[in-house]
């Protein structure tokens, strides 16, 4: 051993702990790389060996159909975005109102509280598509005059009813998460319960639940496609039309890619917000 070097130092100026950890890291990276490459190679080589691969490839990944239907589907997707764009604010407002109903403490407001509980129980307990069917087919069945027989109106209502129940629960959990000492501080200054909620509790609660609500709105963006069952020709329905026209399933794959192009970045962003919030809390 070289008498001049400090104990525990290895060559290259690393401490022996740093050298050990670098070795572990290199080893993990090597294993991850080998494992990923083998899986990808297996998929690329093995899947085409399946007897039906050529038929599947032609039916689902047909380049010609892809190119022909992509512009039309993108166009139809705009309708999804529009339905989403007018549903989302309605859901946010309704969800907040329902959350406040459930939090009403005054005895005179007990019916409101009861309504809030019943509302969230019912609409969280039903499949979205069922609510869309019942409202989307049921209400226009009353024979209302235009524009009150529009599936856009009643489809939107169905989405608002279901999603505001979830949003209400998320907001309520946010309200519960605000520490009692904040309410005490507000009360000690002479603020009314109403002002305490409006200026002290809600602004903090809503900020805390932004990431959770973002996940709900990503789910909403996907569920807009369910409205296709009651009429509107949005991307899912349009893909169905193209499927029949070309006798090919590629339009569905195109629709899936268009959805993912929007939902994956949105999901990543929501995760980023959530992690950021967790870091701030700890």
């Amino acid at each position: 051993m070289d008498g001049a070097s400090a104990p525990g130092r290895s060559a290259g100026g690393l401490t022996r702990r740093e050298a050990y950890e670098a070795g572990i890291r290199r080893r993990s990276n090597r294993i991850a790389l080998i494992s990923t490459v083998s899986v990808v190679i297996a998929v690329i080589f093995l899947v085409p060996l399946a007897p039906g691969w050529d038929a599947v490839k032609n039916a689902f990944f047909n380049g010609r159909v892809f190119a022909a239907t992509f512009p039309g589907l993108l166009d139809a997707f705009l309708l999804n975005v529009m339905i989403f764009a007018w549903s989302a604010p309605l859901i946010a407002v309704t969800g907040l109102a329902i959350a406040l109903c459930r939090d009403a403490r005054a005895p005179a407001l007990f019916p409101l509280r009861l309504f809030g509980i019943a509302y969230t129980d019912v609409f969280r307990g039903l499949p979205v598509v069922l609510v869309i069917y019942i409202i989307g087919f049921g209400v226009p069945g009353l024979g209302l005059p235009r524009p009150w027989n529009s599936p856009y109106i009643w489809g939107t209502l169905a989405l608002v009813l279901v999603y505001s129940a979830y949003v209400a629960e998320v907001i309520r959990s946010g309200i519960d998460s605000i520490h009692q000492s904040q309410r005490s501080a507000a009360a000690s200054l002479g603020l009314s319960d109403r002002d305490t909620m409006r200026f002290v509790v809600l602004p903090q609660a809503i900020r805390n639940v932004v990431p959770a609500n973002m996940n709900l709105f990503i789910a909403l963006q996907k569920d807009v496609a369910l409205l296709s069952f009651i009429g509107p020709v949005e991307i899912f329905r349009q893909a169905g039309v193209y499927k029949s026209l070309y006798a090919n399933f590629t339009p569905y794959v195109v629709a899936a890619i268009i959805f993912l192009a929007l939902t994956i970045p949105a999901t990543r962003y929501a995760d980023y917000l959530m992690n950021k919030q967790n870091r701030e809390r700890s």
Partner: protein, 243 residues
């Protein structure tokens, strides 16, 4: 002379646990009263009862001769006259220091921001926070946050201030700046009740010191007497631990 604030036989229970077991206390206009005693002796609970944050089970509390402990009484007008500052500051984290201070006067008194500005700026200046008005609580040190909390309570122009161990959560080097604020208020003639572990401070400035033990005021008197010659064995034991 009648007392500004009087407590008679105040009892407070949390479930089966009785925290205040019959407390009598008089606080006169311009007086500073310090409550001392071990953790759990009922100091904080007593302050929360005076501010009506906790309803009392028995006894009565008078403010200017009016019974404020009447069940069903609207607590808000009373709380406007009695300010309280908490150990953990409890600032509103989503508002700047100035907004924290102006919220209650705006909503409760109907004052406008423009109207409030000069008074608020003067208070921040006076307590050495002139350049911190637009900071958020998490951008301030503990001592600065606690001073903002004091300003927030003062902005409602209360007649009595309650302080609940307001230096206990602070790093030792920050305690002094908060005690200076109390010294300042004392000189202004503010009526104050403090729950505190700062014995030196109590000794220096209090008009009266009350030693609480297991929910009772075991001994009270002017600080010279109480600190120098405590009558009760338990007071002596407590003081020998903390001094």
């Amino acid at each position: 002379m009648t007392a500004k604030l009087s407590l008679r036989g105040v009892r407070k229970r949390f479930g089966a646990h009785e925290v205040c077991k019959g407390i009598d206390l008089d606080v006169f206009e311009g007086e500073m009263v310090c409550l001392i005693g071990a953790s759990g002796s009922g100091k904080s609970t007593l302050l929360r009862c005076i501010n009506l944050l906790e309803p009392i089970d028995e006894g009565a509390i008078w403010l200017d001769g009016a019974d404020i402990s009447e069940p069903g009484l609207d607590p808000q007008p009373v709380r406007q006259k009695i300010g309280i500052v908490f150990q953990s500051y409890n600032l509103f984290p989503h508002m700047t220091a100035a907004e924290n201070v102006m919220l209650a006067p705006r909503r409760v008194r109907g004052r406008s921001r423009e109207d409030m500005r000069p008074l608020v700026a003067e208070l921040f200046q006076r307590f050495g926070l002139g350049d911190r008005m637009e900071h958020y609580p998490d951008q301030l040190s503990g001592g600065q946050q606690q001073r903002v909390a004091i300003i927030r309570a003062l902005a409602m122009e209360p007649e009595i201030m309650l302080f609940d161990e307001i230096t206990s959560a602070l790093d030792p080097e920050l305690v002094g700046e908060v005690l200076d604020v109390l010294r300042d208020l004392r000189l202004q003639g503010m009526t104050m009740v403090l729950a505190t572990h700062e014995m030196g401070f109590a000794r220096e400035l209090a008009d009266k010191v009350c030693f609480l033990d297991e929910g009772r005021i075991l001994e009270e008197g002017p600080p010279e007497a109480l600190f120098a010659a405590p009558r009760e064995a338990r007071t002596r034991a407590f003081l020998s631990r903390v001094l």
